[in-house]
């Protein structure tokens, strides 16, 4: 399950990006998103995407998987892109690129920041009740995925899901979901009981909302620069569009450097790429 994979990446990694404060990463992600959304220039969208790939590489995130996950919204952008198609591939292409680019920014965020830490960072802007619900939802997803996978295995072993018939798949899914639904009720009741017994008074996590540190400045600064450049290109498009290849070329250069400089040389050798851990760890 993808969400479990990404969660593992977020928890297992120790790169600069992983260790940056969640608030800083949220800000950087917001700036990156703004950059993607504001421009309408394939080069500039691609610039952001290439930078995301470079950052992912350095953080040890499996790049191919990240790109695959980012492509998912691209499929839906296809529908909108087709509505825009009037014999010209660039416009629809850019629409799809924007979707994929935006998704890549967000997936990088979640691949380097465990959900609960993100929730904690969002505390200043969300009602406390909602944050609590988010925490329980997050924990419950993993409990339910466990339940679902057991049931799906059982269904598969008993011949459900055989063949590509939609009816069979639907049946198997229905059984799995019925079991999951029932378990959900029981789990929620027991969770209520446990919360009561342990004296729940409204705050599951003790984590502070966390601020910014000095070491986050490069990250946020770089993101601000990218966003600034995007805004500039958008508003001064007449003058700047002929040069829109430049940021893209710069991004490619950054990517090349990122991939060529050995990871151990960065950040005092304390980095341990997630991809290495995935290969080496028994999960």
């Amino acid at each position: 399950m993808d969400i479990a994979t990404v969660d593992y990446w977020a928890n297992a990694g120790g790169s600069y990006l992983h260790r940056a404060s969640p608030t800083a990463k949220l800000m950087a992600a917001a700036l990156g998103l703004a950059a993607v959304i504001v421009v309408f220039n394939l080069f500039l969208v691609a610039t952001v995407f290439v930078l995301v790939v470079a950052l992912a590489w350095r953080a040890g995130i499996p790049v191919r998987k990240l790109i695959l996950i980012s492509l998912y919204p691209g499929v839906f952008a296809l529908l909108f892109a087709m509505a825009q198609f009037h014999g010209d591939f660039i416009i629809p292409g850019t629409t799809i690129a924007k979707a994929v680019g935006a998704a890549s920014v967000v997936v990088l965020l979640i691949a380097t920041t465990p959900y609960p830490r993100l929730f904690a960072a969002l505390r200043p802007v969300l009602p406390g009740f909602i944050v609590e619900v988010l925490y329980v939802t997050y924990r419950s997803v993993f409990i339910l995925l466990g339940v679902l996978s057991d049931v799906l295995i059982a269904v598969r072993l008993r011949g459900g899901f055989t063949g590509r018939a939609l009816g069979r798949r639907l049946q198997g899914a229905a059984v799995a979901l019925a079991v999951a639904t029932l378990r959900s009720f029981e789990i929620s009741e027991r969770t209520y009981a446990v919360m009561q017994m342990r004296g729940y008074s409204g705050r599951i996590s003790g984590e502070a909302s966390g601020g910014l540190h000095l070491r986050d400045v490069p990250l946020v600064g770089a993101a601000a620069a990218v966003a600034g450049q995007a805004f500039l290109f958008r508003y001064e498009w007449r003058a700047l569009n002929p040069f829109s290849w430049a940021p893209f070329a710069a991004a490619l250069l950054v990517l090349a450097v990122a991939m060529l400089v050995p990871r151990a040389a960065v950040a005092g050798g304390r980095e341990r790429p997630v991809s290495e851990m995935l290969r080496g760890d028994a999960q």
């Binding site: 993808d2 998103l33 993607v36 309408f40 220039n41 394939l42 998912y72 919204p73 839906f76 952008a77 529908l79 909108f80 509505a83 009037h86 660039i90 416009i91 629409t95 924007k98 979707a99 935006a102 967000v106 965020l109 979640i110 009602p127 009740f129 909602i130 609590e132 619900v133 988010l134 925490y135 329980v136 939802t137 997050y138 924990r139 997803v141 409990i143 339910l144 995925l145 939609l166 798949r169 639907l170 899914a173 229905a174 979901l177 999951a180 639904t181 029932l182 009720f185 789990i187 929620s188 009741e189 209520y192 729940y200 008074s201 508003y235 498009w237 007449r238 569009n241 002929p242 829109s244």
Partner: protein
């Protein structure tokens, strides 16, 4: 496919903001409705149902084309207030995962939240008419709810005026003339700038219609599957844990029976 799988960067900023504003209002109302209840009870119930929805939406029954939504089920179990909160939590978590745009979380919450509310209202209406056919009532409620929410989605898209998919709307903004242009009309490498005067093009109201047709067509398949699934699940719950349906607002409690 009622979930607005609208990626980022397509809808205009004002519409995005309206979506967020509407979400804030909906959540405020929902939280107000829930304020008297014990947090230790509401938090796990909404959380678990949200998790159920996320797990369901991640199980591709027909890859890409259909995944179980279960929003109507959520509305039936949690009631409208809980359903709206769940809609937001689900959308936020999925969006953070890249399964949908992050900017459109607001609009998505409006669409999905209204599904939970509508599902709840219609189900309990139909159940009174068909007390012995709980599954059928749920199925009917689902079809109607999804039809309405798909229409809402299309309405939102229409509002965004994507349909005049002309170069003008898709190019960069010229703040002086407030018009858009396509810098790549001649191709990427040619890289020439199109001046506002050169823009033109037929109006493409046809695009919205085409889009709507596609949504309704695909949607109809999705609604059927979803209503079959929801009907089955609800009748299953009715058989095994009827108390959950008797007290729709946040379900029944522990055996022993307090609310």
């Amino acid at each position: 496919m009622s979930h607005l799988h609208v990626p980022d960067g397509i809808l205009p900023l004002w519409l995005i903001l309206v979506g967020w504003l509407a979400t804030v209002l909906m959540l405020a109302v929902a939280m107000h409705a829930l304020r008297g209840r014990e947090r230790a009870r509401t938090v796990p119930q909404i959380g678990i149902v949200s998790a159920l929805l996320i797990a369901a939406m991640s199980t591709e029954i027909v890859p890409i084309a259909y995944h179980a939504n279960l929003t109507v089920l959520a509305g039936i179990i949690l009631g409208p207030a809980g359903g709206v909160v769940a809609a937001f939590a689900v959308n936020l978590i999925l969006a953070l995962f890249g399964h949908g745009g992050i900017t459109v979380v607001g609009l998505n919450t409006v669409v999905i939240g209204s599904e939970t509310v509508l599902g709840y209202v219609l189900f309990y209406l139909f159940v009174r008419l068909l007390p012995r056919h709980v599954g059928v009532a749920a199925g009917m409620a689902t079809v109607i709810t999804l039809f309405l929410s798909t229409s809402l989605s299309i309405g939102i898209i229409a509002l965004s005026q994507i349909n005049p998919a002309e170069a003008r709307d898709m190019g960069s903004l010229n703040p002086h003339t407030l018009s858009f242009s396509n810098p790549f009309k001649e191709g990427v490498l040619a890289n020439r700038i199109v001046t506002p005067e050169q823009e033109g093009g037929a109006s493409s109201t046809l695009s919205l219609k085409r889009f709507a047709e596609a949504m309704y067509a695909l949607g109809a398949i999705g609604w059927t599957l979803e209503s079959l699934l929801t009907g089955f699940l609800v009748s299953f719950v009715a058989r095994v844990r009827p108390s959950l349906l008797r007290q729709p607002i946040l379900g029944a409690a522990l055996a022993g029976g307090d609310g």
